[in-house]
Amino acid sequence: MKLNQLLGALALISASFACSDSGEEKPLGKYNNGILIMNEGNFGTNDGEVYHLNPNTEVLLPNIFEAENLRPFAGLLQDLVLESDRLYLVANTGKVEIVNPADFKSLGAVSAELDQPRSLAVNGSKLFISDYGPYDASYATPDSYVAVVNGLDGGVVSKKIPVSNKPQDLFSFGNYIIVAGSEENKIEIIDATQEAVITTINLEASPRQFYAEDGILWVYAVAADEVIFYTVNLSSLTLGNTYTVPVTNATGNIAFNGDDEMYVLTSSGWPDYNDTVLSIDINGSTSTATQLMTGSGFYGIGFDDNLNQVYVANSNGFQGNGTVTVLSETGSVIRSFEVGRGPSGFLVYGN
C-alpha cells in the first residue's frame, strides 16, 4: 500500500481510518481481512469489544476478543493500531492489549503505569503510547505524556515523555514520533532514540488525526467554525501547505478515501443535537463540503476502499448496542446493522 511504498520499512497504520497491509504477502487468517469494527463500550461498564465484518458476505462476528481469549476485553476501546504482525488494542481505561491480527489470540499487554492511553505508534523495537495522564481535581490533564515501552509485545513502561495536554494520534517516521497535541494546538516531535521532544510546531486548530498519502503527511485539525488540513514536510519537519474548509462543529472523526477526499462527522451539540456526515473534497486550492447524511448519535466513521462505501457508526445513546449504516460515496443508504456498544471506528483491510 501507498504508505509502505512511500515510507519504506516503517509502516504506520493509525487509528480509526482505513489502512491496509496489502503490500506484504501474509497468510490470511480469520480476522485479518474485511473490516474490524471498534466498539468503545460504555463508561463504567468497560464492555468495549471488536466485531469482524466480511463486507462481501455481510457475515458479522461479534466480540472476537472475548471469543478467542475466553476473557472479556474489560476496557473502553479507544484505538486499533495495526502494525504488521501485531494489532494493538488501546483502552483509555489504562491498558494496551496486543493480539495476533490473524486469529486475535493475545500476545501480550501493557497493563501497568498507563492512565488514559489514546493511541500508539511503533518505532524500531519500541512502543510509544500517547496518554492524557491522570485527571486533576478539576478534570484537567496537566500531566499528559507519551509512554515508552521496550518490546513490541508489551511489558513495562520505561519512560514517560511529558507532552502538551491531551495528546491524541501518533505518527512514526524515521527516528521520530509525531504527536497530535489536541488541547494546546501543537504538534510535538519526539526523537525516538533520545526519548524527548525535540521540536514543537504551533497550529491554529486542534490536531486530531494524521494520514500519510503519496509522500505527504496530512494533519487533520478542527476549530469551532472550520477544519484545517496541514501538510508536514517530513524531511525538514516543518509545515507545508494549509487548507482551510469552513465546517462548523467538526468532531475529530475522519475517514480518508485516498483520493483527496475525506468524510468527517459534525455535531451541533446541545441543545439541537444535529449530527451530520460531510464529504470534503480538496482540489488544488479549492475545497467543497457536501452533506451526505444527517441524524443524531454519530460516533465513528470509516471508508471501505475496496467497495467505495462509507461506514457511519451510531452509538444509540449507549443504552445498548450501536448500529452501523453503510452509505455509498454519494450518501445513499445501502444497509444498516447492529454492532457492539458505542461503535467508534473501523479498521479496513485491503484486498
Binding site: N46, F73, T93, K95, G108, Y273, G317
Partner: protein, 619 residues
Amino acid sequence: MFLLLWVYTFVGFYPVSQDTIPLAEVEVYAPALDRFAQGQKVISWEKAELEDFQGRSLGDILQEQSPVFVRQYGAGMIASPSFRGTSAGHTAVFWNGLPINSPSLGQSDLSILPISSIDQVSLQFGNAGALFGNEAIGGSIHLGTNSEFGKGLQAGITHQTGSFGLFNTNLFAGFSSKNFSSKTKVYREFSKNNFPYKDLGRIGTPEVKEDHAQFEQIGVVQDLAWNLNSNNQFKTAFWWNKTNREVQPVMGSKTKDVQEDQAFRAVIDFFHFEEKSVWNLKTGFVRNEQLFNASENNSTQYFVAGDWDQEISGKWTSKLGARYTLTKGDLSTYKADDERIELYQSTKFSATENLSFAINLRQLVYSGTFAPFTPNLGMDWSFWNTNTQSLLLKTSIGKGFKVPTLNDRFWNPGGNPNLLPEESLSGEVGLNWSKKGDLNWTQGLTYYKMSVDNWIIWLPKGSVWTPENIKKVSNQGLEYQGSLNGHLGLWKWELATSYTYSKAVTTKGTDENDQSIGKQLPYTPQHQANAKVQVKKSGFTSSIGTFFVGERSVTADNPRMMPSFQLFNFGLGYDQLTLGKLQFPLSFQINNILNTDYQVLYLRAMPGRSYQFNLSIFL
C-alpha cells in the same frame, strides 16, 4: 403483618397496663405502616431478626432475605434496590416517616444505611403513591428507630472482627423512666475490603487483591421521647452518618475515585391523643452532603407535616394529612430550590372482622406543577378460618408517580425543565395461608401487574447528556413466600423460603427500531430465590442461608447476559453466657461458604468466602 394494629400501639402508649391487652412492653407511639395498606404486600423485620445483619448494610438484608434485587457495585459500594423490576429511583425510602431519598438523585444508596443504626425495617411492595407519595412505584422501604418507656438503664457494646480488615464497633446506652426515654447509639464500621479476586481485565486473569475499596463509616443516633401528660407525647430522633469510601474500580479500570457521604437527619413528632383520634405534627430536616473526588453535591430538605387519624365508628377509620417540603439543592453545576405541598386522605371500612377495605388518595404539587393524582383501593378478606388455619385474600389497585429529580430538571448542561412526572398503575392479588399447630406455617403467593409510563432516561445528545420521558415499561410477576417451623425433640427449627419471578419489559423505547422493545430490563433477574434454615436449642442457634439470583442482562437490548449465581452463608451463635447481670452473646458467621466467584454487575468484583466473629456485652 397484623401485629402493628393501631389499637394495639395506641393503647400501648398508656403507661398503665390493662388486663385485657397483652402488652409485653410499653412502647413509644408509632403510627402503624399498614393501617391503611389493605391489599398490599408488607414484610417487616424486627430488632431480633436484624441482629444477624449487625455490621452489614440494608442492601445485604434485602438481597439475602427479600424478593428485592439489589444492584451492588462492589463490596461496600453503591447498592440500589430494584422492587418488582423497577429501578432504584422507583423506591421511596423513609426514616421515622421522613422521606430520605436524595432529592438530586431521587434514590438512596442502601450500602450507607447501616443496620446498626435502625431498629425496624419494613418493605411495602407495589404502587403506593397515595399512601407514601413520590417515588413509591416499585415499592417503599421504611426504617425506624424505637424507644421504650420504663426500661431503666440499658447499655451494650458489640464488636466484630472479620476477613478483609473488617473491624466494627458499636455502642448503645439508654435510659428510660415512665415518662422519659433516651437512647444513644454510636458506631464505627471499617473494612479494608482487600479481598482476592480473579482480575478478568488483565492478561492471564491473575488473582489479585482489591486495593481500592476501603470503607469507613461512623455515625450517631439519638432517640428521645417524653410523655408531657397522658394525652401528649413528644418524640425526636437524630441521625448523623458519615461514610468515606475508596470507590472500587470496575475491572480493567484503575480509577482512584474517593467518595464521602454525610447525612444529617432529624425529626420531631408531637402526638396528641384523644379518645378516638390521634393528632400528629411532624417536622424534620434532612441534609445530604456528597463529595466525589473534588465535586461537591449538597441538598437540604425541610419538612412540616400534620395529620389526624380518627376512628369514626367501629367500622370506619380515616386519616387526613398534609405535608410541605422545601428543598434547597446546592450541586456542583447548579443551585435550585423546590417546594412541594401534598394532601392525603385515607379511609378504612371494616365490613366485618374478616373483611376490610381501604381507599387512599393523594395529590402532590411541586413548584406549581400538579403531579398525577394517585388513588389506591385495597381489600383484605380473611374468607376461611378454622381453629388452626386461615386463608387471607389481599387485593389492591393503585397509582404511583415520580417527580423528575433536581438533577433531571436542573443539571447544567442537559437538565430538562420540561420533563413530566413518571406515572404508574399497578394491581395485585395475593393469597396467604397460615396454619398453627405442632407444625406452623404461612404461605403466600402474590401476582402483580404494573406499567410505568414517561419513564425518564438520560441520553447523550452530541457531547451532552439530557433526560427525556421516553420509555414505557410493563412488569408482571409472581412472589412466593413461605415459612415453616416446629420442634424436633428439644430442637426448635425454622425454615423460610421465597421465590420471585419478575418479567419487566420495555414496551416503548426511543423509536420503533429500539432493540430493547419486548426485552427484559437491564440488571433485572427473572428468577430470584432465597431460603434459610435455622435450629435452636438452649441458647445455641445455627443457620444456613442461601440466595439465588438468575441471569440478567447488562443493557436493555440484552446482547450480553450475566450468569446466575447462588451463595450460601452460615451462622452459629450462643446467647446464654452471663456473668452476674452481664450478658455475652457470641456469634460466628461465614459468608459465601463455597467461595463462589460471582459478579452482581458486569466486571464488578465481589468477595469470596469471609469470616466474621461477633462479641457483645450487654448490661
